[in-house]
Symmetry: C2
Subunit: 180 residues, 2 copies
DNA sequence: TAAGATTGATCGATCAATCTTG
DNA sequence: CAAGATTGATCGATCAATCTTA
């Protein structure tokens, strides 16, 4: 049922063997790379993948401060998830929250001194790891090819973040199948 | 701290602007693609990404049966996670468990008739979605380039599944930083 | 009221025991 | 004992309300 099986089933358009190979490779990478980076960060700094990028994003901002809604976009995260996450980071003293002075509807997350210190401690190791993991194995040409392919996939699918596809799809013969 | 900031910090070797771009693209894809596929499967069949591949893997086996430990390798999953997952699938009647007759140490997961039916119902839509998401935007050349790049990354890093990097790394200046 | 944010409930993933079989 | 598997506890992600401010 993964595509390489015999053809006695109600197949629509299966993947070609070649596509199948590409698919397996991509599938593996999708599982493996985030896990590797998460593991590195967790071991070396006690931060999760996303927590790191939240702190990093804040550190790139003028006052080390950003509205949660903007942060959510940057982190490809939902607001709810971010709110929970920032609450945890706040409990750990890495970030504090403050209502936006110019518009009370917004909440800003602000990097604390401690949070900045932890980030500075974590960053070199992480960058080094990413370099070894992703860039060292590839030539410049291969890097460009990788980026190009991923970009095309993204833009062909509307360059969406999360919260797309939220209740869509009626074009496949799936209809009655939500057993949950 | 993501690489494009001013250079007044204790940097090791930052990424070049070009690498930075590749990195952002990859980062986005790593977050976006699994989410999109998970969402499609969830909506159309009530199965998670991994559940689907577990069922699909079973359906490719002789007796629609596989040892959990083998399944774990195939699914890039840990045994513990798989055990919980199979327990849930069993409760839903999609799979049943049976001690391996030839060696009582193993447990086999076996696709039920109902499980097979659900898989057959889910497969066409999923394959179609993957095709549109991944393959339609790319030429054959670009597909090969993508696969090539990801393969190089994988093999350069030892072609590992999960459960690598479990307590390693002492080469970065991270030492005292596990706040958990 | 609508957008931003928070909260509580639920579910799955992870980790560290523990159990079982050869 | 070692490998395979299970279990319970904990933590994070997700979803559906709910609250707040302009």
């Amino acid at each position: 049922m993964t595509g390489r099986s015999r053809s006695t089933k109600p197949e629509p358009r299966w993947l070609t063997p070649d596509e199948m190979e590409t698919w397996r490779t991509l599938h593996l990478a999708l599982a493996t790379l985030p896990a590797a980076m998460a593991s590195q960060l967790q071991c070396d700094s006690g931060l999760s993948f996303i927590e790191y990028y939240v702190l990093a994003s804040l550190s790139d901002q003028p006052e080390h401060s950003m509205r949660l809604s903007d942060l959510a976009v940057l982190a490809n995260s939902e607001l709810s998830r971010l709110s929970h996450m920032v609450a945890r980071l706040e409990r750990r003293g890495l970030v504090r929250r403050q209502t936006d002075r110019t518009d009370g509807r917004f909440t800003c997350a602000i990097l604390t001194v401690k949070g900045y210190r932890e980030l500075v401690r974590a960053a070199p190791g992480h960058v080094e790891y990413v370099r070894r993991l992703i860039f060292d194995p590839l030539s410049k040409t291969e890097q460009r090819a990788l980026r190009n392919a991923l970009r095309k996939i993204q833009s062909h699918n509307g360059g969406q973040g999360p919260a797309s596809r939220t209740r869509a799809r009626s074009d496949t013969q799936a209809g009655a199948a939500s057993s949950r």
